[in-house]
């Protein structure tokens, strides 16, 4: 059952991707396996195109430095997520382990929170008022 749901979601995502991004002639999925919008979708919704992150010509993987061209810095991002407890952008991985944006955030699939590898039961729910 679970597999079928994922398959359906993936198919759906692929279809949406094909049509939704036809203008850019791309086929990246716009929803993750669990039905949430991908980072790519969020960027498109905010008026960006593929080239904004991937560059011109041959498709380039997006390096973390690219993210920070717009999102400024971990410090700036951590300000925006300070309502989260614990704050995923202000911790020892950021301070002293050189964590990269792309270790958690992926353009075309769901976020993988690296904190959870060790802090296995931590939750990073938002607590916005």
């Amino acid at each position: 059952m679970r597999i079928r749901v994922i398959l359906t979601a993936a198919l759906l995502a692929a279809t949406v991707g094909l049509t939704g991004l036809s203008a850019q002639n791309q086929s990246a999925p716009l929803t993750t396996a669990d039905g949430k919008p991908t980072l790519a979708k969020k960027h498109i919704d905010n008026g960006l195109d593929c080239v904004a992150c991937h560059g011109e010509g041959k498709k380039q993987p997006v390096e973390a430095d690219k993210c920070l061209e717009c999102h400024e810095s971990f410090k700036a991002v951590s300000e925006r997520t300070k309502d989260m407890k614990p704050n995923p952008h202000a911790n020892h991985l950021v301070e002293s382990d050189g964590v990269e944006c792309t270790q958690c955030h992926h353009g075309h699939k769901a976020t993988t929170v690296v904190c959870l590898r060790c802090h296995t039961n931590a939750s990073f729910d938002r607590h916005k008022q």
Partner: protein, 550 residues
């Protein structure tokens, strides 16, 4: 990355064609003249295998000179900017050497809290003194004599001087230092107060019983000092191969710049490998420390920082491995405070296996609790206690190594998340954790009887660590282990120089930090908290000083 895979693939093909791995080290013309580049000492001295057993026995083709876009000449190349690498670079530059520090990530990395040292100025200020001979003897004994005594003694006797230097530097830069109390566990595993915490007064830091990774304040100061003193930093630069000349001397490295070309670094004096451990390399874990894979939680950072590729490079170049068993660091203590149940390793609780039976004196340092648990059926075990745990444990001095007294609400939170279990009766608890009810009832009753009697005739646990389990509700926390780091791999001389398969020093090649073997044996000792980081700081510093004099 694609490029690298192609190279490895090419080398495998050539391996099959040429049979044995020779000294296929980059930039070498007369490969045949190089000493045997066998991965392991055994292989060099006994029969030669027809097929490689492990991928690291297959050296890749040397990176073509045509790919190298830049050459850097220096005295010392340090590979890896973890704690060991940063301090090696600092000591070398401070003593007049020209140093290049290469790191594949965008910055240095560190993650610890405790930095172990003996009889520093911080000790004096706090009125503490450690008996050096007793500590050295106990460390060597703990390692079952599988270590170079000189390495251990150098740490014990030189750490005061080396730390004083860095304490001065930190204090001049607004970073404070404090020695924390020893980890207290039981009478046969005494603790020494070696842990130095470097911290900022206005920022969170540990008072001894919680983990705040403040080591970054120390390393930041030293990294900045490296810059000020002229270390040539190359972050985002991954070393791919070591260079060896005809005489067998390691003369430098070839590194790949992220998103760029290859640089050749020529090292007049030394290449220092500070490339960490191999916790992320399944093949190396399987071969060298398979029991590490029993740990339920992988707990090491930075991600991608311990893949063992630097160790493989040394093996390609003819370095050998330390003699097994390979020491690793597995802690039962979880990674609090983010949702892990902090009481899993408490020595005050009863430990039962899936048969519902007690199997040990629970009053063990938490890393070694893993060893007995791994011997139980399915490697499963639970810490069992009752409703009066908080009151029972309140008088006990807690520390990082000892029992943690977690408030009831935190425990309830763990229960809600399915990380801990609660039952109105022992039988109900048994059903929840899936052990035979009758056996658990019998075990709990026996433990309670012994606790009340004040004499554990079954396992000899000290009386003040035992409490009756007779007040409902009853609790169980599954005991899990975290693999933190591997703390040694390459075979080194007592001067930290890498050795070949015949135990001859390899000119120009050194290993420090978790890459250096022969400092720890079997398990990581908790008697001297912070000794892992302390070893990185002190031994790297000594190596930098000695290279300058050599």
């Amino acid at each position: 990355m694609k490029h690298d895979k192609d190279e490895i693939a090419a080398s495998r093909r050539s391996f099959l064609k040429n049979s044995l791995v020779a000294g296929a080290v980059a930039g070498v013309a007369g490969l045949g003249a190089a000493p045997a580049a066998m991965a392991q000492a055994e292989a060099a001295t006994t029969e030669q295998p027809a097929q490689p057993k492990h991928s690291w026995e297959v050296a890749p083709e040397p990176i073509a000179a045509s790919k190298i876009t830049q050459t850097v000449d220096t005295d010392v190349v340090v590979v890896g900017a973890g704690v060991a690498g940063v301090f090696a670079a600092h000591a070398a530059v401070e003593n007049g050497l020209k140093v290049a520090l290469l790191e594949k990530f965008k910055t240095f990395s560190c993650r610890a809290k405790d930095n172990g040292a003996v009889n520093t100025k911080a000790h004096k200020r706090q009125g503490m003194h450690i008996d050096e001979e007793e500590l050295a003897a106990r460390l060597i004994s703990f390692s079952q004599n599988r270590v170079h005594h000189k390495l251990v003694r150098d740490w014990v006797y030189e750490s005061g001087r080396v730390f004083d230097h860095y304490i001065d530097m930190c204090e001049a830069n607004g970073v404070s230092v404090e020695v924390l109390p020893e980890y207290t566990v039981n009478k046969i595993t005494p603790g020494f107060p070696t842990a130095h915490n470097f911290f900022l007064k206005d920022q969170a830091h540990s008072n001894g019983s919680e983990y705040v990774p403040t080591q970054v304040y120390l390393v930041r100061v030293v990294e900045k000092s490296c810059r000020d003193k002229g270390v040539d930093f190359h972050y985002n630069t991954a070393v791919k191969q070591l260079l060896k000349d005809k005489s067998g001397r390691i003369t430098g490295v070839v590194a790949k710049v992220k998103g760029g070309g290859y640089i050749q670094f020529n090292a007049k004096k030394a290449v220092i490998l500070a490339v960490g451990g191999y916790t992320e390399n399944d093949e190396m874990l399987d071969a060298w420390a398979p029991w590490a894979k029993f740990a339920e939680v992988p707990c090491y950072t930075p991600i991608g920082g311990n893949q063992g590729e630097g160790i493989a490079m040394a093996l390609w170049a003819g370095a050998s491995l330390m003699k097994p068993p390979f020491p690793i660091m597995i802690h039962t203590i979880p990674a609090p405070p983010l949702g892990n149940d902090a009481m899993a390793a408490n020595q005050t609780f009863l430990h039962v296996n899936k048969l519902g039976k007690r199997y040990e004196d629970e009053n063990q340092p938490d890393p070694f609790q893993s060893n007995t648990r791994f011997m139980q059926p399915d490697r499963k075990a639970w810490a069992v206690f009752d409703a009066s745990y908080f009151k029972d444990q309140a008088p006990i001095k807690t520390s990082m190594g000892g029992p943690v007294n977690e408030p009831q609400e935190a425990l309830e939170d763990s229960i809600a998340k399915g990380m801990a279990f609660k039952g109105a009766t022992v039988a109900e608890l048994a059903a929840k954790i899936g052990v035979p009810a009758e056996a658990l009832e019998k075990t709990v009753a026996r433990y309670t009887e012994l606790a009340k009697k004040g004499k554990d005739v079954d396992f000899g646990k000290q009386a003040d660590r035992m409490f009756p389990i007779d007040t409902a509700p009853f609790y169980a926390v599954p005991i899990k282990s975290h693999l933190l780091v591997t703390v040694g791999s390459l075979n080194v001389s007592p001067e930290m120089q890498c050795l070949d398969g015949n135990s001859n020093p390899i000119p120009g090649l050194y290993a420090v930090g978790n890459t250096m073997g022969n400092f720890f044996g079997v398990d990581y000792p908790l008697m001297a908290p912070g000794i892992s980081s302390g070893r990185c700081i002190v031994m790297s510093h000594l190596l930098g000083e000695r290279l300058a004099k050599a």
